[in-house]
């Protein structure tokens, strides 16, 4: 497709849109030529809109998996300086606050899993609530809700879900500081009270996978990965709580924009100055939303361990890492030689700190932060490591997934759920889902080629490839 935007190629894997109109900074896209050509013009339009927001630093960035989102492109990164009138955007974080991916090692080889995989799939599907209308076994009262919102995965571990050693392998050590449960409405709490430990639906899933390729033996060794190991990927977010926080603050921010003298090129970019009352309220609520997502993935990890203990008792599920890809976080970055504290929005983008960063757990620090990239159902996912060069390129950020190539509508016209399940079964992949239409909407062919995305991310200098994993069992929400 030809674009109407003045894209200038800077290098083989980076493209630039010089500021025009009300843009304060350029837009920068990391991708190869094929990926850029396949991007909808809406991506460039949204990127240019982000570049107009007050207090934005350096550039508005799009990752190789960027596609048309809400306000921000999905695969969008932007950092703001509070002291320069910078904003925090509810649209820039998105509805599914702290949606993310967690990877577990199982201590098993795939051969040990293969003979029991149908039983394992059935047990995981029975035990882990997934899909519309599913509720968890936990019912949170007001006190429990507040403790969860403050404590995140740490709270979950205190409740008996998992172990303290899990916490060091989660961003923020499992507990986002600065969470303010008081900023969360009664409606958001009510929507969440029965949803802890549920997978959700759409593109959320739990997969058992085989390590199919190792690209970097040294880093893989530090990550504890070998070829033919069985691993588990869990992709889900903050469930109803995050969605409700997003919905409510989007509206507040749109209605308050003019009083903050913010001109919104798109209402979905709704934002408020970081130093305003509304900006602070949102940050407190959004951080509590992050804790909800971390607690949720922690509980699902526990449920997964219960299933493995039952079906494959030799398994020992340990946490490789847990990343969030819909967040706004206060981080220190070096901008043109000066250290600055910035509010980095990553919407469908993963933090990817390079080797030596103090926020990486000590046991992994020498090789860089694990970056977990979920592919589409039945294809492959990737385990990467943050690269030092990413700091100057994208505030240490990388892609988050394959990114859709086709709408859900098109997908259901092209595929039928039942035949997809049969086709994947013939290839040795067991799919379990409450909805066949849901399976069709998530057809592998509806997504971009994840390998092309991670290759571009690596060659642009954002990450190093470490391992490629292929699914054996997929529980689809």
């Amino acid at each position: 497709m030809t674009t109407h935007y003045p894209l200038k190629q800077q290098s083989e894997f980076s493209w630039r849109i010089e500021p025009f109109g009300k843009m304060r900074v350029p837009g920068i896209i990391y991708a190869d030529e094929q990926l850029v050509r396949a991007m909808d013009d809406k991506v460039f339009e949204q990127l240019c809109n982000v570049a107009t927001l007050p207090g934005i630093v350096e550039a508005a960035y799009a990752m190789p998996d960027a596609h048309w989102g809400y306000g921000f492109p999905i695969g969008g990164v932007a950092a703001f300086d509070a002291d320069e009138g910078g904003v925090v955007s509810a649209g820039g974080v998105g509805f599914d606050i702290s949606c993310g991916v967690r990877a577990l090692r199982t201590g098993l080889t795939i051969d040990e899993v293969e003979s029991r995989k149908t039983e394992l799939a059935n047990a995981l599907f029975r035990h882990i609530p997934a899909g519309v209308g599913s509720t968890g076994r936990i019912h949170l009262n007001d006190r429990g809700m507040v403790a969860m919102l403050r404590g995140g995965a740490r709270w979950a571990v205190e409740q008996g879900y998992g172990t303290t050693s899990d916490l060091e392998r989660i961003e923020e050590q499992g507990c986002m500081r600065g969470a303010e449960p008081d900023e969360i409405s009664a409606r958001a709490r009510k929507r969440q009270q029965d949803e802890m430990g549920t997978l959700g639906s759409g593109n959320h899933y739990l997969e058992v996978q085989r390590v199919a390729d190792i690209y970097d033996a040294k880093i893989a060794n530090t990550f504890g990965l070998k070829e033919n190991d069985a691993v588990v990927f869990i992709h889900c977010g903050s469930r109803g709580l995050g969605h409700q926080i997003g919905t409510e603050f989007l509206k507040y921010m749109v209605l308050a924009a003019s009083s903050h003298h913010i001109e919104l090129p798109d209402r979905e970019l709704a934002c408020a100055p970081i130093q305003s009352e509304l900006g602070q309220s949102y940050l407190g609520a959004m951080r509590a939303g992050i804790n909800c997502a971390l607690a949720n993935r922690q509980i699902i990890t526990h449920l997964t361990r219960e299933v493995f203990a039952d079906v494959l008792p030799r398994a020992d599920l340990t946490l490789l890492f847990d990343v969030s890809h819909n967040t706004c976080k206060l981080e220190t970055h070096t901008v043109q030689g000066r250290k600055r504290k910035l509010y980095v929005h990553r919407k469908g983008a993963t933090r990817a700190f390079g080797p030596g960063h103090p926020d990486i757990p000590e046991s992994l620090r020498a090789v860089g932060q694990p970056v977990l990239i979920g592919g589409s159902m039945g294809t492959e996912s990737h385990i990467l490591a943050g690269a030092s060069s990413g700091e100057a390129l994208s505030f240490s950020s990388a892609c988050h997934g394959a990114g859709r190539a086709m709408s859900r509508r098109q997908a259901t016209r092209q595929w039928k759920g039942r035949s997809l399940v049969d086709e994947l079964a013939a290839r040795g992949i067991v799919i379990r889902s409450p909805s066949m239409r849901g399976v069709a909407e998530e057809a592998p062919g509806a997504y971009k080629d994840v390998r092309e995305v991670v290759d571009a991310a690596e060659r642009a200098g954002l990450v190093h490839k470490v391992a490629r994993v292929e699914p054996v069992v997929c529980i689809k929400g």
């Binding site: 998105g94 409606r187 929507r191 919905t247 709704a270 239409r437």
Partner: protein, 139 residues
Amino acid sequence: MPAHWEHFSHDADMGVRGSGDTLAQAFEQAALAMTAIIVDPAAVKPSERVPIRCECPDTELLLADWLNALVYEMACRNMLFSRFEVAIDNNRLTGAAWGERVDRGRHQPAVEVKGATYTALQVRQQPDGSWQAQCVVDV
């Protein structure tokens, strides 16, 4: 023009569009379009009534409010809706949704709606006097 609904494409998600002779009808039809993202509306029995109220200074934001109120009721009550009634007076919406509890075996709900967004959000009167109300919903 008879009231009707349709979906429109968005890269990651789906757009809902309702049309009708009145603004209220367009809102009702947009709600049906949203249900159709989750399940075939014909499969949902309109047996229980849930009242909905919302208010917003802007008619387009009111559409998002209405759809988000339905998303909220679906999530908290574990229900699906197939019949809607809306009255709009001075950007104040009084309405109701009829539906039933989710039956996962019978309904086979495809996907959960996270929220109605402000992307492609438009409420417009057409040259022929009819109304159209649309936005993208996040799934």
